[in-house]
Symmetry: C2
Subunit: 260 residues, 2 copies
C-alpha cells in the first residue's frame, strides 16, 4: 500500500485572515496524514500595491503582471506569507519548507501567450519536480509552495495557485495516494447554490455531466470541476471541495464534496 | 578526503546592483566547488520602507525591527532578492533552493535581549541544521539562505547575515572542508587602509595580534576578524576576505586575505 498524501490549496479568504489562517494551519498540523500546502495571497498583494501606488489591472480574475507587480507578488507570496505560514507551522509542531516554483526547479512554467492580451509575467505550468518534493516529504517535512514559478531562464512568473495545486497533486500521484483539497466559502458543490444543505457528497463524472445538463451546476464551478476530473484522470485518488472552517471534516470525508 | 565547500556571503554592494549581482552569480556558477550562498539586502529594504512611508532607525549599523519593518525585510530578503538569486542561478546552470532560517528549521534564533535598547524582532543565532543543508547539497543543489530566521514559536526574526554565514560554515564543517568567503569593497585586509596594494595575503592569529597591537588593523576590521578566527577555531578550514569583483580569484587563492 502506498502512503497517503493531502495536497491542500489554502483559499484566498483564509490567507487574508490571520485568525482563519491560524485555525486552518492547526487543522493541518494535527491531522495524521502528511500534507503539501499551496497558497497565493492576491488580496494582500493588492493592498501592498496600493501602499506603493502601483496600479493593478485584473482581467477575468487574472492579475496583469508588469515588472513592478511581479516584484510585489514575489515579495508577498514567496516572502511575507510563505515565511509566516512556515514559522506558524513550526510553532504547531510541524517543520515546514517554504518554496517558490524556482526553488529546486519545483514548478517550471512558461510565459502565457494570449492572442490579444499581454498578461505580462504570468506563467503556465510546464512541469513539476515531484522527486524533489518527495525527498522533502521523506524527511518528515511539510512543503509549503507559493504561486510563483520560473521559466529556467532567470524569469520569475506569477502563476495560478489552483493550477499549481492540481499539477503538484498529479506529479505526486507517482509516489502517493493523493487527495487534492480545495477550500472556499461554501460547504461543497451545491445542488442549489442558495441552499448550504444541498451539498453533493460524492460526485462521479456521470452525475456531474447530468447536473451540468440540468443546469444545477453552472458558471464558475464548471472550470473548477473540469480541472478536478482532469486530476482524477491523471492519477489523483480524490479531489475534495469544501468550506475552509471544516478542513478536518473534509480531510476525514465527513464534509464537503468528494470527486472520485 | 572530505569534499570541499564554499560558504559565500554576498556583500551588500553586490546585492544592490543588478549588474554586479549577475557577475557575482556567474562566478559562483562556473566555479567547480559547491557553494552555499548567504545574503541580506538592507539597502533595498530601506528603499522599500521609504516607498511605504515606514520610518527606519539604525543603531550601530543594526536595524531596529518593529513589526512593519520585519514584514519589509521578510518580503525583500526572503521574497524578492532570494527568488531573484535562485532564478538567476538556474539560468546559469545551477539549480538552487532559496531558504529563510525558518525553512527546515535551518537557522533557529532567539530574540536579542539588550540591557537598554529594544532592537525589536532581531535574532541571535542559536543553532544551524547542517544535516538539512547537507541533504540539499547532496542532491547537487545550491542553498541560498537569506538573513531571516525564526524562534520555533512562530516568530520570524531579522538576523545579521555575516553571523549566519559564520554559523552555517561552522555547522557544515562537520561534513565538508569549508571555506567561508566574505566580500566587500576592498581587496582584502590592508596593512595600510589607503593602499589597495598592501593586502595581507595570509593572516595567522599570531600575525593578527601583532598587527592589532601596532595599530595597522583597527576599528571595524577587528570584530570581523575576531569572528573569522572564531570560525577557524570551530572547524572552518579557511576564511577569505576580498573584493566582490575578484570572487573567482579569491576562491582560487589568487586574491584577497586568507585567514588560516
Amino acid at each position: 500500500m502506498r502512503p497517503r498524501l493531502n495536497v491542500i490549496k489554502i483559499g484566498g479568504n483564509v490567507v487574508d485572515s490571520p485568525a482563519m489562517l491560524q485555525l486552518f494551519l492547526q487543522n493541518i498540523a494535527k491531522h495524521p496524514t502528511t500534507s503539501v500546502i499551496i497558497h497565493g495571497g492576491g488580496k494582500i498583494a493588492t493592498q501592498m500595491a496600493e501602499k506603493m501606488n502601483i496600479p493593478q489591472t485584473m482581467i477575468d480574475g487574472r492579475r496583469i503582471t508588469d515588472e513592478a507587480t511581479l516584484d510585489i507578488v514575489t515579495m508577498v507570496y514567496a516572502g511575507l506569507l510563505n515565511k509566516k505560514i512556515v514559522s506558524k507551522l513550526h510553532s504547531l509542531g510541524r517543520t515546514a519548507v517554504g518554496l517558490s516554483g524556482a526553488d529546486g526547479n519545483v514548478v517550471l512554467a512558461k510565459k502565457r501567450v494570449h492572442p490579444t492580451l499581454d498578461y505580462g509575467y504570468v506563467g503556465e505550468v510546464q512541469s513539476v519536480n515531484g522527486q524533489f518534493l518527495q525527498n522533502i516529504i521523506d524527511q518528515n517535512l511539510t512543503p509549503v509552495l507559493c504561486a510563483i514559478t520560473h521559466d529556467s531562464q532567470g524569469q520569475l512568473l506569477n502563476t495560478n495557485a489552483d493550477t499549481i495545486a492540481q499539477e503538484v497533486a498529479v506529479a505526486l500521484a507517482a509516489y502517493f495516494d493523493v487527495s487534492l483539497i480545495y477550500t472556499f466559502e461554501k460547504r461543497g458543490v451545491l445542488l442549489n447554490v442558495d441552499d448550504e444543505e444541498s451539498v453533493i457528497k460524492e460526485l462521479t463524472r456521470a452525475a456531474y455531466s447530468k447536473h451540468v445538463e440540468l443546469g444545477a451546476i453552472h458558471s464558475g464551478m464548471i472550470p473548477k470541476l473540469d480541472n478536478a476530473f482532469k486530476a482524477i484522470d491523471d492519477g489523483v485518488k480524490s479531489v475534495k471541495i469544501g468550506k475552509a472552517e471544516q478542513l478536518t471534516q473534509i480531510l476525514n470525508d465527513e464534509e464537503g464534496t468528494k470527486i472520485i
